[in-house]
Symmetry: C2
Subunit: 265 residues, 2 copies
């Protein structure tokens, strides 16, 4: 406890503290690849869910206890799992596991896309939004393959470049980054852009249980409403570039206050 107090109050020449989390869980190849990418850049601590948490968005555990399990170090990084969501991991890491405020929070590398406006469901980005809200520069990395056995090394140059630049320069205080890396051996470069608009179609597979009662399983495919718009993330990832979308946690639409006043007046 004394060393924690000491660490919390001194600055100086320490290496940056990098907190890593994800939504695929502590055993996912993606989080190990992310640790490997940044292990040389600072002191790395990984705190991730104890199981898969895809689609958890910014969910928090409000009515259950959270426990922490320590795992074997990986490439010099401390590794912990938490019995909760990605946001729980960020909150609990800062409450109980880190000896000082992190300089950077990274989430991923997610197995699968977090592009377009369906990013709203993403647990990967839920953790990143949380990091941003507590004032830490935060980045989510996603690779466009759901195959947990795929080779993630193609992500390395992108993760390396963006992480180093953000460590050096920081980010605007209310902005975090959503980075998507297309499938393939290498990507052509990066494009800073916005999320494409789209929607899901055929969202459920329908079944009947042995008693004839219906049940449902989420499925469906994302329909991109603007596939030819070079202002959007999916336009570029479809063409072999990594996309970087600046994201703001506050969803207040200040520019619509006047319109809403005139509807309600």
């Amino acid at each position: 406890m004394e060393s924690m107090q000491h660490d919390m109050t001194t600055g100086g020449n320490r290496r940056p503290l990098i907190l890593i989390t994800n939504d695929d869980g502590i055993d996912a190849p993606g989080i190990h690849e992310l640790v490997a990418c940044v292990a040389s850049m600072g002191d790395v601590v990984a705190v991730a869910p104890d199981g898969a948490c895809s689609g958890q968005s910014s969910a928090i555990s409000v009515n259950k206890v959270l426990t922490v399990t320590e795992h074997a170090d990986y490439m010099g990084a401390k590794m912990y799992s938490v019995s909760g969501t990605p946001v729980d991991c960020v909150k609990l890491a800062m409450h109980a596991l880190l000896d000082r405020k992190p300089d950077l929070i990274l989430s991923g590398i997610n197995h699968g896309s977090n592009s377009g406006n369906n990013v709203i469901y993403s647990g990967t980005m839920g953790a990143v939004l949380e990091g941003c809200m507590v004032g830490v520069p935060s980045i989510g990395y996603s690779y466009h393959s759901h195959n947990q056995q795929c080779d993630l090394k193609a992500c390395r140059p992108i993760v390396d470049m963006i992480t180093r630049r953000v460590l050096e320069s920081g980010l605007p205080s209310d902005i975090c980054l959503n980075v998507n890396i297309p499938k393939g051996e290498s990507c052509k470069g990066i494009k800073v852009t916005r999320a494409a608009r789209g929607y899901w179609t055929e969202e459920y597979a329908d079944y009947a249980d042995p008693h004839g009662r219906p049940f449902y399983w989420l499925t469906g495919s994302f329909h991109n409403e603007e596939p030819d718009n070079p202002e959007t993330d999916l336009y570029w990832t479809d063409r072999g570039y990594a996309s970087v979308v600046p994201v703001r946690p506050d969803q207040s639409a200040v520019d619509s206050i006047g319109d809403i006043k005139s509807i309600l007046d």
Copy 2:
């Protein structure tokens, strides 16, 4: 099935179809009060989680089956529960339970505040954001008392007025509303505003299990960073007004693309 096809393709003089959900579950007093408020305005169908889902944000169930249970009608409204999150309820209602696209989606009345930037964790607002993303005018209602036995009738004039206006005029296509109603017998009026910035302090209660191992329970209090700013929702709810915040699901910070380009170049 034939009547569904018929209903899906004809317009005409039908009463508006209003879908109601919440995050406190199908048995919460708040959803019954909301049904009562709007029962005269259209055909009402309530589809809510089968248990409490506070803090579920925009979470979706990706790796479990969903089942639906029909409950007794309430004030002429069909009532269903779903074994999932608030967003699951909206998606599954539109897939399997409604005979046509709803004219309005309402969520609430939530037992407790969804003000300030902690609205990001709200399951109430997760459902509203989902409604907006599928192109339906959507409103979340929250009452500033966690007491499930409190008298919610103070909400009626606010819910009545805002719901009627939005039924008449619609909402901008990418905007939904977050309405918060202060505790008390009546409120002084409404203010269209933005979410206050703040953060949580002392977020966990710490415990030790019988074997000495730590565990944690989420708690803490919200610290409003701008309590004296009349541009914010909490300023007005603290002073007895209902707040209406226009909310945009797309979190892309288009105005920051230039800043991020200069950091990454």
